[in-house]
C-alpha cells in the first residue's frame, strides 16, 4: 500500500519535471488554476507521467472526475495498492 506522503513526493517530482519548475509543492486542494503553465497539453504530460511512475492507468472518465490533486492521489493509491 502506497502512503499518500510518498505519492505526493513522487507527484511533486513529476510536476517539477514536466513544468520545469522546482518550486512546485502540491497539496490536496491544488488545482490546475493554482499552477502556472498547467494547461491542457501539460495536463496530458502529467497524466502520462503518472501512468509511467505508478504503473496505473486512468480512463478518460476517471480523469474527468478528478477535481484537484487530492482526488488524483486517492485515485493512485486505490489503484496501485
Amino acid at each position: 500500500m502506497l502512503s499518500s506522503d510518498s505519492v505526493y513526493e513522487r507527484l511533486n517530482r513529476i510536476f517539477r519535471d514536466v513544468l520545469d519548475d522546482d518550486a512546485i509543492v502540491l497539496r490536496a486542494e491544488t488545482t490546475a488554476a493554482d499552477v502556472e503553465g498547467w494547461d491542457s497539453m501539460v495536463n496530458v504530460q502529467l497524466m502520462l507521467g503518472v501512468e509511467q511512475e505508478f504503473g496505473v492507468h486512468l480512463s478518460a472518465g476517471q480523469m474527468q472526475a478528478l477535481h484537484n490533486v487530492g482526488d488524483l492521489v486517492t485515485a493512485i493509491v486505490s489503484r496501485a495498492a
Binding site: 519535471d17 514536466v18 520545469d20 496530458v44 504530460q45 497524466m47 502520462l48 509511467q52 478518460a60 480523469m63
Partner: protein
C-alpha cells in the same frame, strides 16, 4: 531491457544524474554545439528532450552558432497532436548532428497550410516538411475506401509543398491498427483495414520512385515495436496522440537519422573489438580452438550474428576495421585459420591488435582512412573501453551492449548509425575503395588523458588469500591464462587447495570492481620462499603472477605489487624475486618487472621491499581472513586519503 530494446533506446547510455546542470553549463559555452551533441547522445525521455529543445531555441534566439551541427528547418504537419513530438524531434536531431528548427501549424489547419502559397509553412523556407499523417487522416476507413484515393491525397500534398514552398517532403508509411476485422483474411479482403494499409504502403513506395521526396517507414518502426504498443487508443482519445507517448523518443530518433542522412552525417566505418565481441572467449587465453564461433552452437551463433551483420554492412558500403587488445599474430590467426569465421582479413581495411588504448587506435585508423571521427562506430563488449572512447573521442558513436551477446547484432542494427536514403553502385564498391587489406597502422599520438578517466571509474581492488570459495576460479585462471602470465605454471585443484594451508607460501586472489560492476577475479599471485638465495637472505620468489587482460592499463599491476611489498615487509621478507618465462604467448609481459622497477639479476628480477611502495590509485579492500595482523576491523575499506596502518608504520 531486452523486451523494450527499441523504445528504451538501449544502445544509448543512460543520461547522467546531473543532466540539467550539464545542459545549463553547455549553454554558457561560446561554441555549445559539441556539448549539446554529447548530451543528446543519451537515452533521453520526453522531459530531457524537451529541455534540449528549449536550449536550442534559447541559443538560436541569442544568435549562438551550434556548429558543427548542421542547421535544418523542418516543417511538421500531421493530423494528431504534435506538441509532444516536436520538442523530441529537436532534441533527437542533435544526436544526429543536426541543429533543428521546427515550423508547425495550429492543430487541424494543415490542409489550408499546404494549399495556400502564402501560408506560414510555404513561406518558411523549409529544408523539408515531415508529413506525419496516419491512417486516420486518409480516406482508408470507409467500406468503399481505396488506397489510390489516399495516395492521390498525399501526392497532392507533396506537389503543393514542392510548388509553393520549394521543399522536399518526408512521407510516412502507415502503421496498421491491431484491430482485425475478419482475422487472417484481413490481408486478402480488399475492404479490410489491413489490406488497405498494406496496399497504400506498397504503392506509396512506387509513387516515390524518381522523386526527391524521402520515405519514412513508420509501418516498419511500429511493427518492430509491436502494433499493440505503438497504437494507444486511450491516448488518442484523450489527447489525439498519433501513437503511444512511450514511442516518441524512438520515433524522433528515427526522424533524426533521416535528417542526419540528408545532411551527410551518417556513419561510414565500423570498428570491431574481437574477444567477446566478434567471437566468444579470449583468443590469447582460450586459443584458436577455444573461441566460440561455431554454427549450431548457442554461444557461437550470437557472435556469428555480429559477424554476419558486419559483413552485410560491408556489402552496402560500410568500411570495417578491427581494434583489439591482443597479440597481432594471435588475433590474425582466427581470421586466417578458423574455419567457422565469416569475417576474413580481406574484409577489413585496418587491423589494430596491440595493447594500447582503443581511443588512440581508433584515432590512428581514422587518420589512415582519411575519415572524420564522426564517421565511426565502435563496437566493444567491455564498458570500460566504451567509456574511454566516449570520453576521449566523443565524436565516435559507441553503442551500449546488453549482457547477453545474443542481442549484440540486434542492438547494433537498432542504433541506426548507417541510415541511408538510397543505395547506389558506388556504395556497393565503397568498402573496397577503402580496402587496405587489414593493414596495421602506426599510432601517432595518444588520444588523451586516460588517468583522469580511470580515476572517474571508482575502482576498488579486493585482496584476499586463496580460499575454498575462490578455488575454482583460481584453478581456472592458473590453467587458462596465457598472455598476462609471467611463468605459465599450471597447478591442479589439489595443489591450489594445498596452497591455502601452506604457511610458507603467500597467495593473493584479486578482484576489481568499478562503476560498471564487478569484474570478478582478475589476478592471481603465488609467492614462495626462494630456495636458491644465500642463507640469511629472506626472499620471496614470485612463483606465479597472472592477470586478466580485460583490466590492462588500469594500474592493477602496480596495486598488486604494492600489496606484495606491504605483505612482505609484515613477514620480514626483504626481497622479491620475479622471473619471466617466455611461453611464446606471453610476450606482452616481457618487460613486466622492468616496468615495475625491479632490477635485473641474471635471469631474474629483484626488488628490495624497503624501497618505497607506490601510492594507491584506487580504494583497497582486504578480506577478513587475510594475513593482515595490524587490521582491527573485519572488512577493511579505506579511501585513498586514509592510508592503511602498516603504511604509516613503514613510513615512520
Amino acid at each position: 531491457m531486452i523486451s523494450n530494446l527499441f523504445e528504451s533506446l538501449a544502445w544509448l547510455p543512460r543520461p547522467p544524474a546531473d543532466f540539467r546542470q550539464r545542459l545549463r553549463d553547455a549553454m554558457e559555452l561560446d561554441a555549445p554545439g559539441p556539448a549539446l551533441h554529447a548530451l543528446a547522445t543519451h537515452a533521453l525521455d520526453a522531459a530531457n528532450l524537451r529541455r534540449l529543445s528549449a536550449a536550442v531555441a534559447a541559443l538560436a534566439a541569442r544568435g549562438t552558432s551550434l556548429a558543427p551541427l548542421a542547421p535544418f528547418r523542418l516543417g511538421v504537419l500531421g493530423n494528431g497532436t504534435l506538441d509532444l513530438i516536436v520538442p523530441a524531434l529537436v532534441g533527437s536531431a542533435l544526436r544526429h548532428g543536426v541543429a533543428l528548427q521546427c515550423v508547425t501549424v495550429p492543430y487541424g489547419l494543415y490542409p489550408r497550410e499546404i494549399l495556400d502559397p502564402q501560408s506560414a509553412i510555404n513561406r518558411a523556407g523549409c529544408d523539408a516538411v515531415l508529413l506525419a499523417f496516419d491512417a486516420r487522416a486518409l480516406p482508408l476507413q470507409a467500406a468503399d475506401a481505396s488506397p489510390a484515393q489516399a495516395l492521390d491525397m498525399i501526392d497532392g500534398f507533396r506537389d503543393n509543398l514542392r510548388r509553393h514552398g520549394g521543399t522536399t517532403c518526408i512521407v510516412q508509411t502507415l502503421a496498421a491498427f491491431p484491430e482485425a476485422l475478419f482475422g487472417s483474411a484481413d490481408r486478402r479482403i480488399a475492404a479490410a483495414p489491413r489490406y488497405l494499409v498494406d496496399a497504400f504502403n506498397r504503392d506509396l513506395v512506387a509513387r516515390l520512385e524518381g522523386s526527391p521526396d524521402i520515405l519514412f517507414d513508420v509501418a516498419g518502426l511500429a511493427e518492430t515495436v509491436g502494433l499493440a504498443r505503438w497504437h494507444c487508443p486511450a491516448q488518442w482519445n484523450v489527447a489525439k496522440l498519433p501513437f503511444a507517448d512511450a514511442c516518441v523518443p524512438l520515433y524522433a530518433d528515427h526522424v533524426g537519422r533521416l535528417l542526419g542522412a540528408m545532411r551527410g552525417k551518417s556513419r561510414r566505418c565500423l570498428v570491431l573489438d574481437l574477444d567477446n565481441t566478434v567471437w566468444g572467449g579470449v583468443i590469447g587465453d582460450d586459443g584458436l580452438e577455444g573461441i566460440e564461433i561455431a554454427e549450431g552452437h548457442a554461444v557461437g551463433e550470437a557472435f556469428r550474428a555480429v559477424q554476419r551483420l558486419a559483413l552485410d554492412l560491408r556489402g552496402r558500403g560500410i568500411v570495417l576495421a578491427v581494434s583489439s587488445k591482443n597479440d597481432d599474430a594471435v588475433a590474425r590467426r582466427a581470421f586466417r585459420d578458423h574455419p567457422e569465421m565469416l569475417l576474413r582479413e580481406n574484409h577489413l581495411a585496418v587491423f589494430q591488435a596491440n595493447w594500447n588504448d582503443k581511443a588512440s587506435n581508433i584515432k590512428a585508423i581514422a587518420e589512415e582512412l582519411s575519415l572524420g571521427l564522426e564517421s565511426f562506430v565502435f563496437l566493444d563488449d567491455n564498458p570500460v573501453e566504451r567509456g574511454i572512447v566516449r570520453r576521449l573521442l566523443p565524436e565516435v558513436a559507441v553503442p551500449e551492449l546488453p549482457d547477453d551477446p545474443a542481442y549484440y547484432a540486434r542492438t547494433l542494427a537498432a542504433a541506426g548509425y548507417f541510415e541511408s536514403l538510397a543505395f547506389s553502385e558506388e556504395d556497393r564498391r565503397r568498402a573496397e575503395f577503402y580496402q587496405r587489406n587489414a593493414e596495421r597502422v602506426a599510432l601517432k599520438q595518444s588520444a588523451g588523458d586516460l588517468g583522469a578517466y580511470y580515476a572517474s571509474l571508482g575502482m576498488e581492488i579486493h585482496f584476499a588469500p586463496f580460499d575454498a570459495m575462490g578455488r575454482a576460479r583460481i584453478v581456472q585462471l592458473i590453467n587458462k591464462s596465457n598472455q598476462f602470465n609471467l611463468t605459465t605454471r599450471r597447478y591442479s585443484e589439489a595443489e591450489v587447495a594445498a596452497l591455502e594451508q601452506d604457511r610458507e607460501a603467500f597467495t593473493l586472489q584479486v578482484r576489481l570492481t568499478d562503476v560498471f560492476g564487478d569484474n570478478g577475479m582478475i589476478s592471481v599471485v603465488i609467492c614462495r620462499p626462494e630456495q636458491l638465495h644465500a642463507a640469511g637472505s629472506r626472499t620471496w620468489a614470485i612463483d606465479t603472477w597472472l592477470m586478466s587482460c580485460r583490466v590492462l592499463g588500469r594500474s592493477v599491476e602496480q596495486m598488486v605489487l604494492r600489496e606484495l611489498v606491504l605483505a612482505a615487509r609484515r613477514r620480514g621478507i626483504e626481497r622479491l624475486v620475479g622471473r619471466y618465462i617466455p611461453s611464446g604467448r606471453n610476450t606482452m609481459v616481457a618487460d613486466h618487472y622492468a616496468t615495475l622497477g625491479f632490477s635485473r639479476d641474471g635471469e631474474a628480477w629483484v626488488l628490495d621491499v624497503a624501497s618505497p611502495e607506490s601510492a594507491p590509485t584506487m580504494k583497497i579492500v582486504r578480506a577478513p581472513t587475510f594475513d593482515c595482523p595490524l587490521e582491527t576491523r573485519s572488512l577493511e575499506t579505506r579511501s585513498l586519503e586514509d592510508p592503511p596502518p602498516e603504511d604509516r608504520a613503514t613510513a615512520a
